[in-house]
């Protein structure tokens, strides 16, 4: 191995360890790792910038602007309270409905944003019913990762895969991943009910108090809501049809965001820009440059060669290896840096003679997204919910979550293995 490759691997491993240890904020660590690759001459600045995937960043920023502006109208609170009323104030039914809303929201907004919207309304509803919010939050974490699996914009790993592989359009993600996400959710819901039904009991009087609520009062700005819903609807149509117009998903999301800001004015723009999670954006920037060091020095190509040697180039073995490896790795590592490393590796397999890469991409997406359910540190959404819950006095313990999340994750990967095998490999 060349000296530069050794440096690149060394920096990558140290940075990865620091990200896992969570001693320093992951954004700072990733950016320093990326900068080291440039400062030490492993990649030059132009190459580093070339490796930053602006489609991923643009898609995230665009959706953050649209969703944060829409949230200002109170519509997400309205939906949650309406669901609680439809459930007749019954906690188990509310738990199921909020999980389903989280799953659908995660598929069409993105799972991190969805949980940020769902956690406050969950606290509000559970406080009124005087039930423990933790079962609701745990099921929402799990639902957010399952729902996020279904679409290109649902979960950061999918955004990255969709951006790196142009043939995998928004519709291709839905066509290939939504069915398995639907099956997994259908299996999970009865398990949620079985696990939590006895832990979330309330009185008839408190159920009545939910039923009597006036959810219409929660819509704080109907005029803004109309604008947001029109733009959100057009943006989703844009995602469904982006390949027809040969537009990238980031162009669609950013067009939606800036049309909305054009309609709503400067004040809304200032607020919307403060809601963009710049730390997440710079985390991605750092990672892309960090991984570019491994790509440019040939480390990724070497790893791909070894993986092919291990499986003998057999598509079934390679797909299942990627699926399970991604799932186990994503359960205990942040799935974003993992996917950032795997994408060039799978691309390299293509240039080494693996002709049909499609099952490998879907295996990576399923493993990385569903694997995130395995532990509390498996995905960004998990960490965000746990952080918010702990701060409010309801800590979700690592082991407490692991006992629920890990078996459910294994179950979903077993389902995915059958799905991938039957759909792509027979």
């Amino acid at each position: 191995m060349e000296q530069q490759a050794i440096w690149a691997v060394g920096i990558f491993l140290v940075i990865y360890a620091l990200i896992i240890s969570e001693k320093i904020h992951r954004t700072i660590v990733a950016m320093i790792g990326g900068l080291l690759m440039v400062v030490l001459g492993i990649v030059d600045q132009e190459t580093a910038v070339h490796h930053i995937d602006f489609n991923t960043l643009g898609l995230l920023i665009g959706m953050m602007i649209i969703v944060s502006t829409t949230a200002e109208t109170g519509v997400f609170k309205y939906i949650a309270v309406l669901a609680a009323k439809k459930a007749k104030g019954e906690p188990v039914r509310i738990l199921v409905l909020l999980s389903l809303i989280t799953a659908v929201g995660s598929a069409f907004l993105d799972n991190v944003t969805t949980v940020l919207l769902m956690v406050p309304v969950t606290f509000s509803i559970t406080r009124q019913l005087r039930v423990n919010p933790v079962p609701f939050l745990v099921t929402q974490i799990i639902a957010s990762n399952v729902g996020g699996t279904a679409t290109l914009i649902g979960d950061p790993p999918n955004i990255m895969i969709g951006s790196a592989v142009k043939e995998l359009t928004f519709m291709a993600f839905i066509d290939n991943l939504a069915p398995v996400a639907f099956i997994v959710m259908a299996v999970y819901v009865p398990l949620f009910i079985w696990m939590f039904r006895k832990k979330i009991q309330t009185t008839d009087e408190l159920k009545r108090s939910v039923m009597e609520m006036n959810e219409k009062e929660l819509i704080s700005d109907p005029k803004l809501l109309r604008k947001c819903l029109i733009v959100l609807g057009l943006t989703l149509i844009g995602f469904f049809t982006h390949q027809l117009f040969q537009l990238e998903s980031a162009t669609v999301a950013l067009a939606g965001a800036f049309v909305l800001l054009l309609l709503t004015g400067e004040h809304t723009m200032e607020q919307a820009f403060t809601k963009v999670e710049w730390m997440t954006i710079f985390f991605f920037v750092g990672l892309f440059v960090l991984v570019s060091g491994l790509i440019e020095t040939g480390v990724i190509a070497e790893l791909a060669k070894r993986a092919i040697d291990l499986t003998g180039g057999d598509l079934v073995a390679t797909s299942l290896l990627i699926l399970w490896l991604s799932a186990i790795a994503s359960a205990f590592l942040d799935n974003i840096p993992f996917v950032a490393t795997m994408i060039p590796m799978i691309q390299e397999m293509g240039s080494m003679g693996v002709s049909n890469l499609e099952p490998l991409w879907w295996s990576l997406a399923l493993g990385a997204c569903l694997g995130g359910n395995g532990s509390l540190i498996g995905a960004s959404a998990n960490l965000i919910v746990a952080g918010m819950s702990g701060k409010e006095g309801y800590p979700i313990r690592f082991v407490q979550y692991l006992k629920i999340g890990f078996p459910l994750m294994l179950l979903s990967i077993a389902i995915s293995s059958v799905y991938v095998y039957v759909r792509y490999l027979i």
Partner: protein, 95 residues
């Protein structure tokens, strides 16, 4: 403890302790937009901060509100009501 006074021609207010919270029931008797806007601003104040369980608002028909206030935010809540002129006076009193 805090002692407060309100105009009964403007609102009806009752409070009761419930575990670590104090639950308020407020009904705006008057339909003057000034007081409804005031209630909206009180809610906004607590919705916009980064604490999700400090003061929770529940809306009911007939300008009725149930508000669950965490005990450590009791004073903040009362002072916000005062700031929006939903209370007429607030003072410290002996237990």
């Amino acid at each position: 403890m805090l002692r407060y006074r309100f105009d009964e021609n403007v609102l009806k207010l009752s409070e009761s302790a419930n575990e670590n919270d104090v639950e308020f029931r407020i009904v705006l008797v008057t339909d003057e937009p000034f007081y409804q806007a005031g209630m909206k601003r009180v809610q906004q104040e607590f919705d916009e901060n980064r604490v999700y369980t400090d003061v929770l608002f529940y809306h009911y028909p007939g300008r009725e509100y149930k508000i669950i206030v965490r005990k450590d935010y009791y004073v903040d809540f009362i002072l916000q009501l005062m700031k929006q002129r939903l209370l007429q006076s607030v003072e410290w009193a002996d237990e």
